[in-house]
Symmetry: C2
Subunit: 333 residues, 2 copies
């Protein structure tokens, strides 16, 4: 649960009401959906969360309507000015269509239309990593600067770019697919079907796959750490095995972290951001990666760009996406 | 000489005069300086060119003032509204300072101030590759789209990014240093002092260095092509040797082109541009590189981004920088 989940609503001050802008924000992940009422100052008035038990678009839309109703109820059903949904997916935002959502197994789903039927309002869609970047930019680890590169290493690997205070979307709205840059020719097979993607070495699923391969093929402290239960292997255990100087763990980490660090350093050279914001479960649970990223920027990025960038970790955690999508949905157009 | 160099001025139509905006644009390279009077419709009214015989900042500023006077004279000395200079350098544009210009051997030179003394007007500075990208965007190969990645492979390797119709500058104005991304650990030594930069494999100087190494160490058609004169080796000869199926030339080309292609493909994945504009002497004289870049995008870039990008070559040639700096210098602020 979020640290703010289920919080009582902040009482609405009547003097504020005429200018207060409230947005119903939803963060649709692969396992959970969260909804929040967010004001124009990025305050979460209420938060609700539900598990996704089914994955058809209609069923998910039903859950989103339900979790939204719960967030509204917790906030005493205020009048909502805007509706926005952050989705771990490639989107046609203008059309309100989810083009590809690997976690949900969706392709070309008119999510905005499905939600409009249920919420009786237009619904803005945005990619979850962009929403989170925008949240950090407005109210978190990105505050105070206008040029940001965020890298999230969780089960998958992704990024978002803010340049000159604007999200970089790309012409077909798929900019930032940093997990799918190629770091090896004929390399490991990625979930996307291609070989040699950065994600195939560094993404959580792939790190764990490499740890399993190690346990099955060589002596390693990882075997004891997981108590023989391969399905319990996690990035936390990789970090622990590194502390035990386990050679197999070191080999996996060495390759993954150096590929990640050089890839990030190269983007620092090309984008010259003021801040690199790091997030995601792998970096949180295996902080050695963050150390290698810092060293890699120092060593591999262009000198002026390396000096200019501050490396920080995300500060809003799971709330970044809710805050970001709320602010984006309520932006004057 | 430029195809338009020394052209007679287009007669100014008196009806146009009140709204016509004229800019004196200068392109300061490592060997030549060119100046032009450019109108708000990107038309070059006049162009002049001079060789840089000396390289101290004062001497270069004198030459720039001279070539500017010549361009003005050719245009019948019209009233100039704006002054801009494109420089192959890292700049602090706001301060009018050239921080590093490798070609000129300059560091922290207040070029705007030096020119203001001579031209009696404020002078806008911009990086030459950004100026060229802006020129192509406004009036050349980038017309009609708002998301552009330009890659120039000449003696050096550089790039510029236009995202959502704006130049991406980075926080300290050094974004786009694509030639200095790292493509090999402990790789070839680059002119920047670091190892493994893309430029150390693909830049013209470095391609020629690799060709020299080949001639000196193995049998290769390159020896005959240069008639034994190593100093005459050029990218044109590399292309010729490829056509002769020369193994040494193939080895150099294979490595350089695949590193370039995968690096570009990765930026296509991250930036999702509508158009990739390729320019520079190496790509012009050794067009096999362009073929491999196209194949590399097809093969390595994210599928949606690869489908979205159109690969073209620059269409304004040497005039792109003059047009671009003119339009940037005359932009309403």
């Amino acid at each position: 649960m979020s640290r703010r989940a289920g919080a009582r609503p902040t009482p609405l001050d009547s003097r504020d009401r005429p200018t207060r802008v409230l947005t119903l924000a939803i963060d649709l992940g692969g396992t959970f959906a969260r909804a929040a009422v967010v004001d124009e100052k990025s305050a979460l008035i209420s938060v609700a969360k539900m598990v996704l038990l089914a994955r058809t678009p209609e069923q998910v839309a039903d859950v989103l309507a339900e979790v939204a109703a719960e967030a509204l109820r917790l906030a005493d059903n205020p009048k909502i000015d805007h509706y926005g949904v952050a989705v771990a997916a490639q989107l046609e935002s203008d059309q309100g269509i989810v083009t590809i959502a690997p976690n949900l197994g969706w392709k070309d789903i008119p999510l905005s239309a499905l939600l409009k039927k249920r919420l009786s309002a237009p619904v803005y869609l945005v990619n979850d990593l962009r929403a989170a970047a925008w949240g950090e930019y407005a109210a978190g680890a990105g505050a105070g600067v206008d040029d940001i590169f965020t890298v999230v290493v969780g089960s998958g690997v992704g990024s978002a770019i803010i340049a000159g205070g604007e999200l970089l979307t790309g012409v077909t709205n798929v900019a930032g697919e940093f997990g799918h840059i190629k770091v090896a020719t004929e390399g490991r097979l990625c979930g996307c079907g291609m070989r040699g993607c950065l994600e195939a070495y560094v993404g959580g699923h792939h790190l764990i796959a490499q740890m399993k391969e190690a346990v099955q093929s060589e002596p390693t402290a990882l075997a004891a750490l997981c108590g023989g239960d391969l399905d319990s292997l996690s990035p936390v255990m990789l970090e622990e095995a590194l502390r035990l100087n386990d050679p197999a763990a070191h080999a996996i980490f060495e390759r993954a972290s150096s590929l990640l660090a050089i890839s990030i350093a190269n983007q620092i050279t090309v984008l010259n951001p003021a801040r690199l914001i790091l997030g995601g479960g792998v970096l949180r649970h295996a902080p050695s990666f963050v150390r290698v990223i810092r060293e890699g920027i120092e060593r591999h990025a262009g000198a002026v760009a390396a000096r200019a960038v501050e490396v920080v970790t995300s500060s809003l955690g799971d709330d970044a996406g809710l805050i970001g999508v709320a602010l984006l949905a309520s932006r004057p157009t």
